[in-house]
Amino acid sequence: MRTRLFVAAVVIQALVLLGWAADLEWTLARAPRIRLAVAQRDPRDLLRGTYVDLRFEIQEIPATMLTPGALPEPGDSIWVILAPKGDVYGVVAVSRTPPTLEPDQRVIAGRARWFASGVSRPLYVEYGIEHYYVPETAGTVPRGKLEAEVAVTRNGRPFLTRLFVDGRPYP
């Protein structure tokens, strides 16, 4: 009996891993893609291999977009409303609750991390797409205008799908 229960527990482990991946595949397949401008990059994760650590322009929310009386604390959920600004999407508004969007807008959900120092104190937000894993043989990202293709679901969950350097896919 205990062996059967053990086998059931092991099967659950396998199902969780496979089911999680299937859910991600399903969500990715249905999410529309947008492009975001990347401000900085930096490499490497010991456990998961070589990656490019990205810092997006939309991660810094200007203080003027925040409601003074209801500033978020680290860990609070944030919905950032994006709209096309040239080739990429940029921040147009911020909400503490899931917002209603205009036709050309997209929403991306993240978590408040900290307020940067300085007089204007912009808010730094993390979206969970800051790492892009690349082959070890790919070398460092070449210099040039770096952009990221991100699939964003209707409720704002983002998935980093590709990187572009000067408009060409990397690696």
Partner: protein, 401 residues
């Protein structure tokens, strides 16, 4: 690995002769019939098999590594899940043949591959969320499997995962670490509270098939409680308190303290049979620690005056000494040598900390090192004598019917 039949015969035969089951001549005849063979790994075929297997594994690993990004993601994940299931299945099969240690190794490998699977999904889909969430998923998945089998190494691996998850939370400013960031001593309070909880959870495993988990939980718990109470003893120093307004009540730390109280109250049920007042003793000692931690949280959250923290520091010294003493006495009573050892370590560390705190600013550095060296040697000698005496008493107590 289980000993072979021939090796077991060599162990058992002298006892059979001594007990009069068989004669010495019969024992020799039986042993001659089953000559002991050399260990499998010392035979040439064993060595060649090991070498060949290692080369094959290395070649496969290199092949996979060189083509990693060309391998379709479902093949990667499927391969890893297959490896994980194979490790568990091989563990079950080998355990059925009596090779318990090898089976335990395979179960641990299976449990480790679950974590690799979680990391792989993170890599494939470029997920970079909270690391604590990945570790949480891992230990929640493997712990039930460990208990169900039972496989003590997998259970211990799961508890180590839970400990790592808790430490990650303490450093994560978007979770428990938010309160710790504003009030660093809260980190020590949270560690001590988790230690008391872990000790009580360890005790709840009893002396049956989960005895090793009990020992592990108790040791980890006592390490955490002692490791946190020691620095909290210098609460009186201005480093540990601030007059800045507290941002909010640390609800998560208070909830953890409440949970620790609950489990500490239940824990005596699984302690060895004894008078009720005696069985309540160890939990009562750690409940005092939890009460102290609760007062410390209130003092931090209300930004109490400096004198309060100085008083808390003195109480911490006394508490550390008192709980250590009770651990030694109860450890001797119930033959729990790890309690005795940790009690001795606590007393030694407490004495050393108090000594340095007292004389650190009064002596020049070289004189301080010299006198402290002598103090540490004498303290170590005295504590070792105490430990041996208590351990011997515990053993004698157990031998008495």
């Amino acid at each position: 690995m289980a000993p072979s039949f021939a090796h077991r015969l060599r162990d058992e035969a002298p006892r059979w002769v001594r007990d009069g089951v068989i004669s010495a001549q019969q024992a020799e005849a039986i042993l001659a019939r089953y000559p002991a063979s050399a260990a499998w790994f010392s035979r040439p075929i064993g060595i060649f098999s090991l070498l060949g297997g290692a080369l094959l594994v290395a070649a496969t690993a290199l092949l996979v590594a060189h083509n990693w990004h060309e391998i379709p993601r479902w093949i990667k994940l499927g391969g890893l899940v297959t490896l994980m299931l194979a490790a568990y299945a091989a563990g079950l099969g080998i355990r059925a043949r009596g090779y318990d240690k090898l089976a335990a190794g395979l179960f641990v490998l299976g449990g480790g591959l679950v974590l690799v699977g979680i990391a792989l999904i993170g890599q494939i889909y470029n997920l970079s969320g909270r690391q604590s969430d990945a570790v949480l998923l891992w230990w929640v998945l493997i712990l039930p499997a460990g208990y169900l089998l039972p496989s003590i190494p997998v259970v211990v691996l799961g508890w180590l995962g839970a400990s790592a998850w808790y430490v990650l939370l303490l450093f994560d400013r978007s979770t428990l670490g938010r309160d710790v960031h504003y009030d660093p001593p809260l980190g020590l309070v949270a560690v001590a509270a988790a230690g008391a909880l872990t000790w009580a959870l360890g005790v709840l495993h009893g002396d049956g098939e989960y005895r090793r988990v009990r020992q592990f939980g108790e040791q980890i718990g006592l390490l955490a409680v002692g490791g946190a109470l020691l620095p909290l003893g210098i609460f009186g120093d201005r480093v540990w308190w601030t007059s800045a307004p507290a941002p909010r009540w640390p609800i998560a730390v208070l909830a953890l303290l409440a949970l620790a109280v609950l489990v500490l109250v239940v824990a005596p049920v699984r302690l060895p049979p004894d008078r009720l007042a005696v069985r309540l003793g160890p939990s009562a000692a750690l409940l005092l620690v939890v009460l102290y931690l609760f007062v410390a949280v209130i003092a931090l959250a209300t930004r109490a005056p400096a004198g309060t923290f100085r008083l808390l520091g003195w109480i911490d010294w006394a508490l550390l000494f008192g709980v250590a003493l009770s651990l030694i006495l109860y450890g001797a009573r119930w033959d729990r040598t790890s309690w005795i050892n940790w009690g001795i370590v606590w007393i030694g560390a407490d004495a050393l900390a108090r000594y340095i705190e007292l004389f650190g600013s009064m002596l020049q550095t070289s004189a301080l090192f010299f006198v402290t060296g002598i103090f540490v040697l004498l303290l170590g000698w005295a504590l070792e004598r105490l430990r041996r005496r208590m351990t011997a008493r515990a053993a004698a107590f157990q031998r008495t019917p």
